[in-house]
């Protein structure tokens, strides 16, 4: 029993990380109905940028963090929106999704070729200690990640659904043509979304990298798990990302513990298929709209 609890608690901690990475999916989905296949790379790159700031510019870590975060938000939030989303969004979501695949290649290969093909240590913003929770040793880092995930996702959920600006963002996603006619600043709303997305990616990156080490290929794994988490939680709900992340984390942990470990990756996927078949909109998603 204590063992089970241990696996669950460990899963929750990992799940919070997936959740943090998964918000980006739901956010971009909510505002442009597209899937950002570069989401994993979005979480990978900020840490690399920060380390590059330290290595190449000789900056102290905090200055590199500020600079790296700002650079990332400008280039991959605002720049991405201006250079990629704007010209493509009129042509449906598929080309845009494919463009993010190309972007993922560019980000990953650049991190490898211009920085390093090796994993790097990344300093943790939190103290290194650990506390015992129900027989599991939980690091303060994990606890901090869980807390940040809850706060960030809660705040975002509140922003999107309960504020006027958030609703303008939703309106822009659901019907940009009409949003334009009503004078909603469509461009600014889309911009805001991508800026928030990039900002959250920086946050996730800074929290995850001390544990997972900063490496160019991190996006593959994080992206896949975050994607599964987002689907499980329901793509069209920000809070779904949190639930989805935690569920996937726990399921993965239990699968590794009790099911053949060479098939552990299959377990969250089977869960995903079952959820889609039983409740296609995801556990916390909203139903698709009436169409006839």
């Amino acid at each position: 029993m204590a063992e089970l609890v241990a696996y669950i608690v460990a899963g929750l901690a990992t799940g919070a990380i997936y959740a943090l990475a998964a918000i980006g999916f739901t956010l971009v989905w909510q505002t442009s109905q597209t899937i950002n296949f570069a989401q994993g790379e979005y979480v990978m790159l900020p840490a690399i940028l920060i380390l590059a700031g330290v290595a190449f510019l000789g900056l102290p870590i905090w200055a590199a963090a500020v600079l790296g975060a700002a650079l990332f938000v400008v280039v991959f939030g605002l720049g991405f929106k201006l250079a990629v989303v704007d010209p493509m969004i009129r042509h449906g979501v598929l080309p845009l999704a494919i463009a993010t695949m190309a972007l993922a290649i560019i980000m990953k290969e650049s991190a490898k070729d211009f920085f390093s093909s090796e994993a790097q240590t990344f300093p943790s913003p939190f103290p290194a200690g650990a506390v015992d929770v129900l027989g599991v040793s939980l690091s303060l880092q994990h606890i901090a990640i869980i807390a940040v995930a809850f706060v960030a996702i809660g705040a975002l959920q509140w922003f999107v659904t309960a504020t006027r600006t958030g609703r303008q963002m939703q309106a822009t996603a659901q019907n940009p043509g009409v949003a334009l006619i009503l004078g909603i600043p469509v461009a600014r709303m889309v911009m805001l979304t991508f800026a928030i997305n990039a900002g959250l990616a920086v946050l996730a990156s800074v929290l995850i990298s001390p544990i997972y080490l900063a490496k160019f290929s991190n996006g593959d794994v994080i992206g896949l798990f975050a994607f599964i988490a987002a689907i499980v939680g329901g793509f069209n709900q920000v809070r779904g990302a949190l639930a989805g992340g935690l569920i996937v984390g726990v399921v993965d942990s239990l699968a590794a513990a009790y099911i053949s470990s060479s098939y552990r990756l299959a377990v969250p996927l089977v869960l995903l298929v079952v959820i889609i078949l039983v409740k296609p909109e995801g556990l916390f998603g909203r139903r698709e709209e009436r169409r006839v």
Partner: protein, 357 residues
């Protein structure tokens, strides 16, 4: 002046990128060294690197291209799958292919043009199993391995050796390449009541695993191969790496001055520490150099003939770094080491002799 063209076909992107990049760096360093000392038989080396994206189909294309473009020998790749996809081509063209792969099966296909740069897993595992039995005195162990050709190959080679020595595998944990979180695996091992843990993972995963194991208070000896004890793992895992020990083939920390010197120059040039793949790449070029100079002429097919069955010593060719015996099937035999990580340093505890000196 005539030059000699060498083409390196290796994993520079995809899952093998980290290993492939080390291999490439090693080659670049070797080429620079050789060219600086006047080349091979007076000819400067032109080195070209082709990326395989860690994909067998692309590897095959690249090796074919290398041969079409008249490479003197094929260097790489490092991963066993891509080696398997491309070795017939070099064989058909009768060109030596010097690879970084360690999977036991590669040299069992009777390909006379394939050569390794490191011990085969079939050679390394008996040494480790003996170490587990005699030094660690383990009767029940857990195996943590990465489920790719490297990890699976190592595990498959290890299991019969353990069985032969009466060591019981109480827990067999397969992990994914690139796996980020090892907490669940660490908890499982902690609860498994074993005497030791055999860790056969790539460098990054080794570090993550050691970190997670330390955090979950796994207090069992961590036994591993070259990848577990390397400088990179120690750097990444920090304090959690202390106490890890095992068998080391090629290591810049080995008590061989040539290795250490190589390690320093590699660090100076590429600003990272070399792992065994860097050493392998460095040696690969020197194997070709040695064979050519031995023949006294440039002869593609002759390279393979000369290498087969040869023993190369650092006296003959300093760039080989350590006495290396090449078996008829392309396998190698060398001295290797038992090491332990103490206070963030790899400390060599013993030197193991060659199997068939």
């Amino acid at each position: 002046q005539e030059r000699v063209k060498l083409i390196n076909v290796v994993e520079l992107s995809g899952a093998g990128a980290t290993a492939g990049t080390q291999w490439r760096n090693g080659i670049d360093l070797a080429v620079a060294d050789i060219n600086a000392r006047g080349g091979i038989l007076g000819r400067q080396i032109d080195i070209v690197h082709y990326d395989t994206q860690t994909n067998p189909g692309n590897t095959r294309a690249a090796v074919q291209r290398a041969i079409d473009e008249g490479t003197y020998a094929v260097l790489g790749p490092v991963f066993s799958g891509p080696i398997g996809a491309s070795m017939q081509i070099a064989q058909r063209a009768e060109i030596a292919q010097i690879v970084g792969g360690e999977a036991a099966g590669l040299t069992r296909q009777g390909n006379p043009f394939l050569f390794r740069t490191s011990l085969s897993q079939a050679a390394a595992m008996p040494k480790l199993a003996t170490y587990l039995k005699d030094t660690v005195k383990a009767n029940r162990i857990a195996i943590v391995w990465v489920n790719n050709d490297f990890g699976k190959g190592g595990r498959d080679a290890m299991l019969p050796e353990l069985q032969r020595r009466g060591i019981q595998v109480a827990l067999d944990v397969s992990t994914e390449q690139g796996q980020a979180d090892f907490t669940a695996d660490a908890i499982r091992i902690r609860n498994a009541n074993v005497d030791a843990v055999f860790v056969y993972l790539n460098e990054d995963e080794s570090a993550r695993f050691l970190l997670a194991a330390r955090q979950q208070n796994v207090n069992k000896p961590m036994i591993g191969e070259t990848t577990l004890l390397g400088a990179r793992v120690i750097q990444l895992a920090g304090e959690a790496a202390n106490g890890a020990r095992g068998h080391v083939g090629l290591s810049i920390d080995a008590p061989v001055p040539a290795f250490q010197d190589f390690g320093r120059r590699y660090q100076a040039r590429f600003n990272i520490a070399s792992d065994h793949n860097g050493l392998k790449g460095y040696m690969a070029v020197h194997m070709i150099k040695w064979a050519t100079e031995r023949m006294g002429r440039f002869d593609r097919k002759g390279v393979a003939d000369t290498l087969r069955g040869a023993t190369i010593t650092p006296q003959m060719e300093p760039g080989i770094l350590i006495t290396t015996k090449i078996e008829a099937n392309g396998d190698l035999d060398r001295e290797s080491f038992l090491a332990e990580v103490e206070n963030g340093q790899q400390v060599i505890k013993a030197t193991l002799p060659m199997i068939n000196p």
